[in-house]
């Protein structure tokens, strides 16, 4: 078996382990402590924020404008509206500021 194939298969197993591992650990406990539940409830905002914050910090005015407009639209509109508005502002702003 080639090294490349070995890397792909081992990488796939490692990835699946992360995707099922948290569940396997949590399901060993009969009851979930309120503080653990509070922690789990914080997971989406906590993880997704880390995918935005450093990217936003390293970006420029065009990207900031897109993020601000997207954030404002998301207060009223749905996910798709927010996404399209942000993308439109980004493309438009990049025509001017690169």
């Amino acid at each position: 078996m080639s090294t490349t194939l070995w890397i792909i298969i081992a990488g796939a197993l490692a990835t699946y382990l992360t995707r099922i591992g948290g569940h396997l650990i949590i399901s060993r406990f009969d009851t979930v402590h309120p503080r653990v539940e509070a922690g789990l409830n914080a997971v989406p905002a906590a993880v997704l924020t880390t995918l935005v914050a450093p990217a936003a910090l390293g970006a420029g005015p065009a990207e900031w404008a897109a993020l601000i407009v997207a954030a404002i639209v998301s207060l009223r509109g749905g996910l798709m509206t927010m996404f399209l508005a942000g993308a439109a502002v980004l493309i438009l702003a990049r025509q001017f500021v690169g």
């Binding site: 792909i8 490692a14 382990l17 569940h23 309120p34 409830n41 905002a45 997704l48």
Partner: protein, 242 residues
């Protein structure tokens, strides 16, 4: 019979509800699928290997990192470890989503965890929070189009990689952060949302500048989750049970 027909109909409706929600994910991920295929071939992968990697790992950022290190002739075990590190945040998703899909048969759960990507987790959490059941049909309606197109785009990118035009002018390198911001905003009604977001943002930025990528994701996430754990329960909206 009647009951069966009704539940079959609702499963079909659930599936298409999921498909509808997958559209922005598919749009945002498409350029990265193409890009991954192109970079993979550029770094010495065959078209088949690039496609296989997308089909088996199904994690964009980790695949990019893996390919990059492969091109630099880094030791194979280190490449695998890096893929693991980039994907480590899924441990938290996995722990969170288990509550929502515990009612599925084990085989369906095993399949569900395989497609547990960032948007998959976030959109499923939104549905659970809205008080709706996260059914297998709905979950796969959301995940399957993303998966199938991801694999196809990787193959197309690998074959036609050199033809991709100026991605910067089209803004596609920044589509995912916009999409993720929308998902973050979607959880703003949750208790402790703002403190968690601030803690995670600050910690991930500091970690990004000091420890470096990809660890800033796990470090930032743990900071936000720990804050929610440490603060007294009456702040987090979780009642202490007798």
């Amino acid at each position: 019979m009647v009951v069966e027909a009704i539940s079959e109909k609702s499963a079909k409706g659930d599936f298409w509800d999921g498909v509808r929600l997958s559209i922005p994910v598919v749009v945002a991920a498409a350029p990265f699928g193409l890009l991954f295929g192109a970079i993979a071939v550029d770094n010495g992968f065959s078209v088949l290997e690039a496609t296989l990697m997308s089909a088996l790992i199904f994690g964009g950022a980790s695949q990019m990192v893996g390919i990059e290190l492969f091109g630099q002739h880094v030791a194979p075990w280190l490449i695998v470890l890096s893929i693991f590190a980039v994907n480590f945040r899924h441990v938290l998703y996995s722990a969170g989503i288990g509550r929502r899909i515990a009612h599925w048969p084990v085989f369906q759960q095993a399949l569900g965890y395989f497609v547990l990507t960032d948007p998959q987790f976030a959109v499923a959490e939104r549905r659970a929070e809205a008080g709706e059941t996260v059914s297998f049909a709905w979950y796969m309606g959301l995940g399957l189009p993303v998966y199938v197109l991801w694999v196809i785009e990787s193959a197309l990118g690998a074959v036609f990689g050199k033809l991709i035009p100026d991605t910067h002018a089209l803004g596609i390198d920044f589509l995912l952060p916009i999409y993720f911001l929308g998902l973050v905003m979607g959880f703003r009604k949750r208790p402790l949302w703002l403190p968690v977001v601030i803690a995670s943002a600050a910690a991930s930025i500091v970690a990004y500048k000091t420890v470096g990528s990809p660890w800033h994701v796990s470090i930032g996430a743990v900071a936000g989750v720990l804050l929610a754990v440490i603060l007294p329960p009456h702040h987090s909206g979780v009642e202490a049970r007798p």
